[in-house]
């Protein structure tokens, strides 16, 4: 195994151990929240997933800019991989959030600004993936992906402020809006450990996915080339 692969393997093991550590700490060494009960503990991984979703989007925009300035397709691979992994974490965040909300606010959904923003982010991610599917030329696909990743990312804070403005005008009818949680020191530590674990997990998944994507692209090109170059001999 090359040294890069060895490093990635090591990092993967580290990510797994960190997530396991966070999980165990959450399960056994973090107090249960008073009003919400056990389900509040979903919050640690839910919020970490949200954080990674945002981070992945930011990274995708940065990788996109790097592609536009350097024209090296490896940046495009990283952009696409970051979006895919980010979508995974965003979906995890949304679904776990809905599961958490149901017993607490007696509703699956609220038009809370953060929830609205994260869902729009998910739609933008999906649109990104569809855009890539619609372009066959690798350099054109890379340019379009980079542009959309950047403009998509810029729209996130704008969407967040719009949704927040909406909320100040229309108070939430269901439930308590902002999660009124008092986090004591132990809970905060668990949260930070989860955030850290998920960040490392993101990096690992990103690198694995990017590596596989590059391999996929290479094989696709070889297959396409092979279709034409069979010399049956005259």
């Amino acid at each position: 195994m090359s040294s890069k692969n060895k490093l990635l393997a090591l990092l993967s093991v580290l990510a797994f151990l960190l997530v396991l550590f966070a999980f165990i700490r959450m399960l056994f060494f973090t107090p249960v929240e008073q009003t919400m009960g056990l389900v509040q503990k979903v919050f640690y991984f839910h919020m970490s997933a949200a954080w990674v979703g945002m981070l992945a989007f930011l990274a995708a925009a940065v990788f996109g800019l790097l592609y536009l300035s350097r024209k090296d397709l490896k940046w495009d691979t990283l952009t696409a991989a970051s979006v895919e992994v980010g979508l995974l974490f965003t979906v995890i965040c949304i679904i776990s959030g809905m599961i958490w909300a149901r017993p607490i606010w007696n509703t699956w959904w609220t038009w809370d600004p953060r929830l609205t923003t994260v869902t729009i982010m998910a739609f933008t991610y999906i649109a990104f993936i569809l855009l890539r599917r619609g372009v066959d030329n690798p350099t054109r696909r890379a340019r379009f992906s980079a542009v959309y990743a950047v403009i998509g990312f810029i729209s996130v804070p704008l969407t967040f402020f719009s949704a927040r403005l909406l909320r100040t005008i229309h108070p939430v009818v269901f439930g308590g809006g902002e999660a009124d949680m008092n986090l004591n020191a132990q809970m905060l530590t668990t949260l930070f450990i989860s955030l850290g674990a998920f960040t490392v997990l993101y990096a690992v998944l990103l690198l694995h996915r990017a590596r596989l994507m590059a391999q996929q692209e290479e094989l696709n090109q070889k297959l396409a080339a092979d279709d034409g170059s069979y010399d049956w001999g005259e």
Partner: protein, 224 residues
């Protein structure tokens, strides 16, 4: 600068003339908009009281959907007839192309509004004649056209074209949608007087940021 303005003016004039001669886009947009108004009437059985409240929402939604027809077509002529290279060589700076297309799309939206609003007023028996309302619609149309022009310039070069435009564009438009509908609600007097300055600021910020960003990245979309 003069050359830039000149090329923008020429490009806008060319597109408007082309559209005037065939009247494809405008008639389809108009038909689509009016039909949508009819559908809304049956879909939302509204008492006169409710109607007043959601008038801006209906008008804006109709404009957003009908607008995609115009956006989709804004680059097809160049794409299908291979005119991009010629266009790129003809202008002093690529931003002129973007700006010209933005203006064309914006003018189409304005034209649509000019026709749709009186028709709405007649169908729903509610006067929407309010200059502030028109102003906010124009700001919204600017943001819509700014984002839409950039996205359309990309989707026209993909396999799925028209199908892809709404999917890519609508998530980006949420701030505009919210700002237009909420502030127009207040302006038309149907929602209790609230401070709409924040919405207008947000809308303006969105318009400026998206336009500037699009100008910066447009060359990567147009040039191979």
């Amino acid at each position: 600068m003069k050359a830039w303005l000149h090329s923008v003016r020429v490009l806008v004039w060319k597109d408007l003339l082309q559209e005037w001669r065939s009247r494809d886009i405008l008639t389809s947009m108009l038909a689509f908009a009016v039909l949508s108004l009819f559908i809304f009437n049956y879909a939302l059985e509204l008492s006169p009281l409710n109607r007043a409240e959601i008038a801006p929402g209906i008008v804006w939604v109709v404009m957003v959907f009908a607008g995609t027809l115009g956006l989709n077509r804004s680059f097809t002529a160049e794409q299908d007839q291979g005119c991009f290279e010629g266009l790129i060589m003809a202008v002093p700076d690529l931003s002129a192309i973007y700006f010209a297309k933005l203006l064309t799309n914006l003018l189409m939206m304005v034209f649509l509004a000019v026709l749709v609003i009186p028709i709405y007023s007649v169908l729903y028996n509610q006067s929407l004649f309010n200059w502030a309302f028109f102003g906010v619609l124009a700001l919204g149309a600017w943001g819509y056209s700014a984002a839409g022009t950039l996205i359309a310039s990309m989707t026209v070069q993909t396999r799925m074209r028209d199908l892809l435009l709404p999917v890519l564009l609508f998530p980006l438009l949420l701030p505009v949608n919210m700002a237009v509908v909420k502030s127009c609600g207040v302006l038309l007097g149907s929602v209790a007087g609230q401070d709409i300055n924040s919405w207008l600021n947000l809308l303006l910020v969105y318009d400026v940021i998206v336009t500037m960003l699009s100008i910066m990245v447009f060359e990567y979309v147009i040039k191979e």
